[in-house]
């Protein structure tokens, strides 16, 4: 249609789309799905890291981890707000999460099993997330783009803190600590690669999203960039990336590497990951057990409103 063409022209000129402006239904839907998933990922993402807060090995590490998890909840808040500008409430989105109709990043279905996992999640998982998010600062939807700018600042901080945990463990720590770090690397490498989504040729939504500048780079581009950035960091730590095919390719100016096991990826997406059931149970339980709390606050607000109203009436 005329409208759609005009919309695409604005996008192509690099203009930002704002909440009240016209947009194609598909654009709105795609954004809601993407922003909602991203928001859900932030709140579910509290769980694997929260798992180690009570066991953090020093007071400083505990404080840093608390701050990080707090940031994640904050990111969730920004993102739900961005989604709300598209006409969907946080409660609606949460209901879709709780009944399994919306997803969160499948990385959070992997368990955190030792303290090095906390470092590795910061380094690899936040690293991959940032790679994704940096491009999204340039996304065409204004509120989303602005949320991303705020988020990116904090995330890069998290990534450095994660890497710092591993620096300590690998370069100054005991042999056992280095083993932990290698174990974490072995478990998180491929799931981190999966975070960019399936290869472009198998990715359903990619082309349209790129045209709308909801995505800027392809999955494969981002994955390649991530590997190229990560390999030297791993080398510095003295960690081995669990990929026998990993090799510098002079010609392309990047590393060749093995694809993750996409069957596993789709299994995990479909509920069959190590922690899917626990993560969902934790979130649903938190929500259900908290119903009385939310109801209580609501009831109090109504009482206060009624009191103010009758005070006004009495005064008139």
């Amino acid at each position: 249609s005329e409208q759609e063409r005009a919309f695409q022209d604005r996008i192509d000129r690099g203009e930002k789309i704002e909440p009240k402006e016209w947009m194609p239904e598909g654009y709105r839907k795609t954004l809601i799905r993407q922003i909602g998933q991203h928001a859900h990922s932030e709140i579910v993402g509290q769980l694997p890291e929260g798992n180690w807060i009570t066991r953090a090995p020093t007071l400083e590490r505990k404080a840093i981890l608390l701050a990080k998890v707090q940031d994640e909840a904050g990111h969730g808040l920004y993102l739900y707000s961005a989604a709300e500008t598209l006409g969907v409430s946080r409660d609606e989105l949460l209901e879709l999460l709780h009944n399994g109709k919306m997803k969160y990043s499948s990385i959070f279905n992997y368990p955190t099993l030792n303290w090095a996992d906390i470092g590795t999640v910061g380094w690899l998982v936040d690293g991959a997330a940032i790679m994704n998010q940096v491009q999204l600062q340039k996304t065409s939807y204004g509120p989303y783009s602005r949320a991303m700018i705020r988020i990116c600042k904090e995330e890069s901080f998290h990534q450095r803190q994660g890497y710092d945990i591993l620096l300590k463990m690998c370069l100054q720590g005991t042999a056992e600590q280095k083993e932990m770090a290698q174990d974490a690397m072995n478990r998180f490498w491929y799931p981190a690669l999966m975070m960019f989504g399936p290869s472009d040729k198998d990715s359903v939504h990619s082309a349209q999203s790129m045209q709308w500048k909801i995505k800027i780079n392809t999955n494969d581009e981002l994955r390649q960039k991530f590997v190229d950035q990560t390999v030297p960091q791993a080398e510095y730590l003295g960690l081995t990336i669990p990929d026998a095919n990993l090799k510098w390719n002079e010609e392309k100016g990047g590393y060749d590497f093995s694809e993750p096991d996409w069957d596993e990826f789709f299994e995990v997406i479909n509920g069959n990951g190590p922690c899917n059931a626990e993560r969902m149970e934790a979130r649903v339980t938190a929500w259900e057990d908290g119903a009385w709390f939310r109801d209580g606050l609501m009831a109090h607000a109504k009482k206060q409103e009624a009191r103010r109203a009758s005070a006004r009436m009495a005064a008139e």
Binding site: Q46, A63, L66, W115, L297
Partner: protein, 254 residues
Amino acid sequence: MSGVEQKALFDWLCRMGDNCLILGHRVSEWCGHSPVLEEDIALANTALDLIGQTQLWLGLAGEVEGAGRDADRLAYHRDAAQFRNVLLVERPNGDFGNTLMRQFLFDAWHMEMLRALQGSSDARVAEIAAKAAKEVAYHLERSADLVIRLGDGTEESHRRMQKALDLLWPYTGELFMGDAVDQAVAAAGIAPDPASLKAGWTTLVAEVMAEATLTVPTAPFQHKGGKAGRHTEALGFILADMQFLQRAYPGGVW
């Protein structure tokens, strides 16, 4: 400072630090499990403040002791009998209402204490108190507000808050009981006599509970022991988690 005073000051600083550490631990157990996203943020923030205060108090305790123990050493290498926190802060979280009530009852005391400590004869203590007071003022504002809203909310939220108050009440008395340690630091002008904080606390609690339509219990029995290292059965389990890595990997670098 005499040896006795130094020992008393060390013990007293451990009490301040351990209260923050153990309550921070309990609060952090909620991480990702609270009833609403804003609470996840607020709780993480509260825990973060408390862990920060722990670093200051236990750091100073280590300095005063002069035996080479820093805040981490004190936090991670003492067993339950060496911990000096009041029993209130180690009470299990229970439901979210119980957690909030515990927080309010503690915050109300904490604020009184930190206010008084800003006039401490020990400049280091006064300085930590001034910094902590800013954070705790916010904790108290928030916990008092939520206690009021939930007490005067639905029947269900009222019931839960009253139950929490009844359960926790016998753990508040210890906050105001003094012993030789308290006398020594009070005599040195370092900290107030714990009993002197009671009037302010009682007034604030009465006000908040009245607004919350909750009934302040009158049963006189009060638990004690935490300040002297006699805890509840809960503390050992807290420490088993908290200290696992430090205990299991001696010589580790984190």
